[in-house]
């Protein structure tokens, strides 16, 4: 059923009893052309674009939990494309362009709100880096500007731009087209749209093994039985190393907990997104009025989906440094997701030494913004058995050749 104003009215007359489920819950078939392991935003987007752009007919997405229960529903919803290096910025910009038409594409309101993202500079070196990045962005056709502390204060009245602050704000980069999107809606929208194209979304189905015949993948073992497949695309974020080890591969990835926090709802106080590398925190306000706050990862490896108290304290210090007024705001909830951090803070979207096995991982702390673009290039990689030109640099071989794409810190926020 198409979502439209007409259907909204029609269903209102029947007391909203006749809405259909957004996607089916099919039993897994014995065999698929392509299996996507991981039903997060990236996996669902991959399945959607495989079906829509590459006419692959027989696709399954296997999700060990439920749709929207992993990192897709655990992030701080920020979308931007102001990365430093050309390889990264073109990939994230492709994603940004897909975001701009996504609600129409999916017939699902993902509440993409281009409210701008400010990346603050607190030192002379920060400002030099910001100017360099803004110039690099503009050369790649990405909107970016340098703004002064005075302009920041005008745009964001609550922010503390006093020169007496411990970390005074000297300026910022601003990407006006950046913003936020409703993360759950992104998962649900892609799931529904993929389902309508015939993709089987199988929840509560954990992959426990990768089957191979020599150096060719033949399918996966799951908690719901063996499923054969000609091609398997793995996009499981924090568990990438776990699935890789099932296939006998090693990845340059370490998994860390990353926390996010929301406050009690407030009246509108912040109509944009503010990120700071130096004090290391980022904040926006959701449509419900909650402040959505994120900060850094816990330093140690972890799969526990919870973070440490010292990290909470650090994040709150950062936010209060920027917005002293928030000291009286009470925090409601905190949670953790497991992020797969790569040595160069860039993803791996690549073929592997096993034929028919593809990996999309290593997004670290910044995967949400890339959801549609990641799916777009990963679908191409799987369907054509060769990378799209946008993800060619993000191959697994770069750790041997040394062609790393060093987005550490340069990507507007430390990872």
């Amino acid at each position: 059923m198409k979502y439209s104003a007409l259907n909204l009215v029609r269903n209102a007359f029947s007391h909203n009893r006749n809405w259909k489920e957004a996607w089916r819950s099919p039993e897994p078939k014995k065999e698929y052309d392509v299996i996507i392991v991981g039903g997060g935003g990236h996996g669902l987007a991959t399945a959607y674009y495989l079906a829509r752009e590459h006419n692959v007919g027989n696709i399954a997405v296997l999700e060990k939990g439920w749709i929207g229960g992993g990192n897709t529903g655990r992030n701080t919803t920020i979308v931007r494309s102001n990365y430093l290096w050309t390889e990264a910025s073109l990939l994230y910009e492709k994603s940004m362009q897909l975001w701009e038409g996504l609600s129409q594409d999916l017939n699902y309101n993902v509440m993409f709100s281009q409210r701008g993202v400010y990346n603050l500079g607190h030192t002379l070196q920060d400002m030099r880096d910001i100017e360099r990045r803004v110039n690099a962005n503009r050369l790649n056709g990405i909107d970016a500007e340098v703004v002064t502390a005075k302009q920041i204060k005008k745009d964001i009245p609550l922010i503390n731009t006093s020169p007496d602050a411990r970390y005074p704000i000297l300026g910022a980069s601003l990407q006006p087209r950046a913003g936020v999107a409703r993360h759950d809606a992104v998962a649900w929208g892609f799931a529904r749209a993929a389902d309508q194209l015939g993709v089987d979304i199988i929840e509560q189905c954990e992959v426990t093994g990768v089957n191979r015949n020599g150096s060719t993948v033949t399918g996966v073992e799951t908690t719901r039985g063996t499923i054969k497949a000609k091609k398997v695309g793995v996009v499981v974020a924090g568990n990438a190393s776990v699935v890789a080890s099932m296939a006998g591969l090693r990845l340059p990835i370490e998994s860390h907990p990353l926390q996010a926090y929301v406050s009690e709802p407030l009246k509108p106080v912040l109509d944009t997104v503010v990120m700071s590398n130096a004090v290391h925190g980022y904040v926006s306000q959701s449509d419900k009025g909650e402040l959505v706050i994120g900060a850094g990862i816990d330093a140690y490896n972890g799969y526990g989906q919870r973070g440490s108290f010292s990290t909470i304290e650090h994040a709150m210090q950062a936010i209060l440094e920027l917005f002293p007024m928030f000291s009286r705001v009470r925090m409601l909830r905190m949670w953790g997701g497991i992020v797969d951090v790569c040595p160069d803070a860039c993803p791996i979207i690549s073929k592997t030494p096993v034929d028919g096995l593809y990996f999309n991982c290593g997004w670290g702390t910044g995967g949400f913004k890339a959801t549609p673009g990641s799916g777009w290039v990963f679908a191409h990689t799987i369907a054509e058995d060769r990378p799209h030109e946008l993800n060619q640099p993000f191959n697994l071989q770069r750790f041997e050749t040394g062609a790393l794409i060093d987005e550490h810190g340069a990507a507007a926020v430390a990872h």
Partner: protein, 90 residues
């Protein structure tokens, strides 16, 4: 927050320590003789297990010495911490 037992100073809060990543990775004796793949394996590839993990910690705000810890990466339970090398406390 968890407590970590420094072999020299005893149990202290996690915030006194800094994390040093996976333990037991030995620097190749003759790096010149490695292939690119072997060097990449040493430099970048990690076990990253879901479960028991051998790792390095430094008592950064204490005795500043490195030591080994065996910690579960799901429960975060630390089963032991130990002196590196020949295991002799200096």
């Amino acid at each position: 927050m968890f407590l970590i037992e420094c072999p020299w100073c005893g149990e202290r809060a996690e915030t006194e320590f800094s994390y040093g990543g996976e333990g037991g990775i030995t620097r190749p004796a003759e790096p010149d003789k490695l292939s690119d793949a072997e060097w990449a394996n040493y430099l970048f590839m990690r076990t990253n297990p879901r479960g028991a993990h051998q790792e390095l910690w430094n008592h950064a705000q204490g005795c500043r010495r490195w030591f080994g810890v065996e910690r579960d990466t799901v429960t975060y339970h630390i089963s032991r911490s130990y002196v590196l090398g020949d295991g002799v406390k200096d």
